[in-house]
Symmetry: C2
Subunit: 474 residues, 2 copies
Amino acid sequence: MTETLIDAVALFQEAAQLAASTLERFADREEPVVHYLEPEALKQALDLELPRQGRGLDEAMELAKKTLHYSVATGHPRFLNQLFGGYDPAGLLGEWITALTNTSMYTYEAAPVGTVVELAVLQKLADFVGFEDCEGVLAPGGSLANLMAAIAARHVHFPHVKQHGLRADDRPVLFCSAEAHYSIKRAAMVLGIGTDGCVQVPVDEVGRMIPAELERLIEEAKAAGQNPFFVCATTGATVTGAFDPVDAIADVTERHGLWLHIDGSYGGSALLSEAHRHLLRGSDRADSMTWNPHKMMGLPLACAALLTKKRGTLTKSMAMNAEYLFHEDSEPEYDLGDRSLQCGRRVDALKLWFSWQATGDEGFEQRIDDLFDQAESLRGLVRERKGFRLIRNQEGTNVCFRYLPHAHRNAVGEERVRREHEATLRIRREMAREGSFLVNYAQLDGAATFRAVASNLETTTDDLSAMLDRIEAE
Amino acid sequence: MTETLIDAVALFQEAAQLAASTLERFADREEPVVHYLEPEALKQALDLELPRQGRGLDEAMELAKKTLHYSVATGHPRFLNQLFGGYDPAGLLGEWITALTNTSMYTYEAAPVGTVVELAVLQKLADFVGFEDCEGVLAPGGSLANLMAAIAARHVHFPHVKQHGLRADDRPVLFCSAEAHYSIKRAAMVLGIGTDGCVQVPVDEVGRMIPAELERLIEEAKAAGQNPFFVCATTGATVTGAFDPVDAIADVTERHGLWLHIDGSYGGSALLSEAHRHLLRGSDRADSMTWNPHKMMGLPLACAALLTKKRGTLTKSMAMNAEYLFHEDSEPEYDLGDRSLQCGRRVDALKLWFSWQATGDEGFEQRIDDLFDQAESLRGLVRERKGFRLIRNQEGTNVCFRYLPHAHRNAVGEERVRREHEATLRIRREMAREGSFLVNYAQLDGAATFRAVASNLETTTDDLSAMLDRIEAE
């Protein structure tokens, strides 16, 4: 072995040790979720100067240790901040092998394993959705998957746009709920439609799109000379976790001949559970769906699937026929580059394959059920406690609640809401800075509201109670 | 330690062993570049059934080994197929730590280390470009970086589009060379401009955009009532490796008040070399630039930077003001999510940081110089050999050549080109199937042409001669 190779091997062995101690840290409640520093202080603590002269692999290892020390421990059971959390050893192994095989997904020739594996995992997901002969692609995140769905839909409804651009009489409009992810509105911006062309449909008391309102708004748009083409049903809204009623929405989109997209970035995984898949009833009637295994399924970022029902739609909308890459003598069915907005594309399929083989349908189903139960048990704890209240009727794995401090327990009406708002901002910031718990907040029904996400099976009822204790102890 | 934890630790240690033997394989010329199987056979060889019942972590390790066996060894010195190759241990370590810290780049709170590191590496790249106060963001690849640049430019020239959409009198057009990457044309499609709104400017005998032709086409478009807004100069064309003359193009774009973007996805790294940075002279006059460290700099995929000159431009064009994520009480300067098309975004900055600290400016400069030398030495070998010829005058790290088989040595004119074309297709396919060499081809000046890319410093003159021997031995 050459010297470089020996150094590299030593490096990997040390990296394996680091991985082991990181996982141990995740199991230790005495460890903070983050060693928080303000940006300027963090810049000092890290060595951000990029030197003229290289410092060698040992230096890289030093940076690895510093990185682990100052990073947020998203695998920690007291991290409830984002729509992902925990960790998955099989998925991690998949990421390492992806890095080691370092290739790009555009052609079968460059990524034979990645290609057949991606096709297999996409069809597996599609089977749960009810797309029998799916054309799909992995994307670097749900936002880009949603954007690609909107492009495919635009191509079906306005086929001239690909070559000739939007015409004055096209006037396309798309629809999503008032609590949909901002990537839908942004897709309207990107596509040249403009954010005004993204109509936000009112939601019910849970946060679910109201199908009758959708229909009313579609008819209004048509009456105004606009051309509705795309409806996004959100299953697992970012803040409330709510599931739009897909089946009833499909009735509307079918009546009006519109493309139905499901943004299941977050909640798509409920399809894996017998007990919860009713939340996506009617998914097989959609034209496309985004589903991120890196959220509820616990895979490392990024693993986000765009699934379309009708083979060819995605490729037709996206392909630029780049001859240098996609050769005539190759097998187009296996050259996936033409169905993506990306050219070079990291292999995100391996981790899902490894994880699925290790975990199985049953393992994932158990995981989903347990996360739903965890959220329900947090709701129970919140209901029980004086000073706490749940905001809205809730479904899914997000728990939105507010806390009214002891000093203001008599506050009512607007004053109560204002006190809750202030307490949310102050307390969650303190917790984030001390690293005791990371739990996010969002504006909901007029005030800052805690949003705790069930995403890690290692999070126990004791952890959840300890979080409420900490909030109360402010 | 719990049982799961012990299993995971054992898994990582085995993964470190796998990494070591993979790197050893890269050093062994007896090892093929790929154990090639046709798709159906590969599906049989891998286990693509995703089971109901999980098979545990041992199964994941089995899949890892199979993956390594059937993957293309892009780190092998006889892999010259794509615009990337080789391997970088510090970068690999960065990828592993990224997977381990598993977080998303939208906010400082979720990714404190990733955020300050990304800002530091982006400014380091920008310093080479000549953007003193850069606003940039890492993207999952050059195509999406180019798309974001076009969105930023559109927002500057047609600010109403973000909210109100394209108007009939906007008629935007953009320009790139006839040999630019297809992502520019696709950006026109995505943005609702249509591919007809992407004007392809003729190139010279090397493959470089002709500035006078650009100016002529801009004036033609204006005369036709169209509104030019964006010019993409390609530095390091995908097929020929050619560098558009940025300085002369900037004269044109400044005269006409257009946004100048440099697609330096491939060749941007020439800026790191005293000897070769003249190829990008005038880069500081551009408004934005794409530069992929995962290509010439040897970082693992994906590491692609979009750099813009004027702070605020990118954020203004992209931001949707998603309150749930980007809190009022946070520090907007450090919440990078609003300057990207993505929401969740993998941390791609760590590997570049690790690698830069390990390698240094000087190490990267040496690397770039050596790759340019390697390409030049392959050109020398091609020139020397009977039956081989270089196609076009060439610059950069791509070598485009054709071979005329012994049996047809007397062929001239169109027949010669046809024979070369057939030989290229046949021979490179044979090599790819037997795994001796992976070298790509593209249609160039009317016929299939070998395109060998210098991307791995371990590739020796002996390897290059052996490749030509193999071609000749067909």
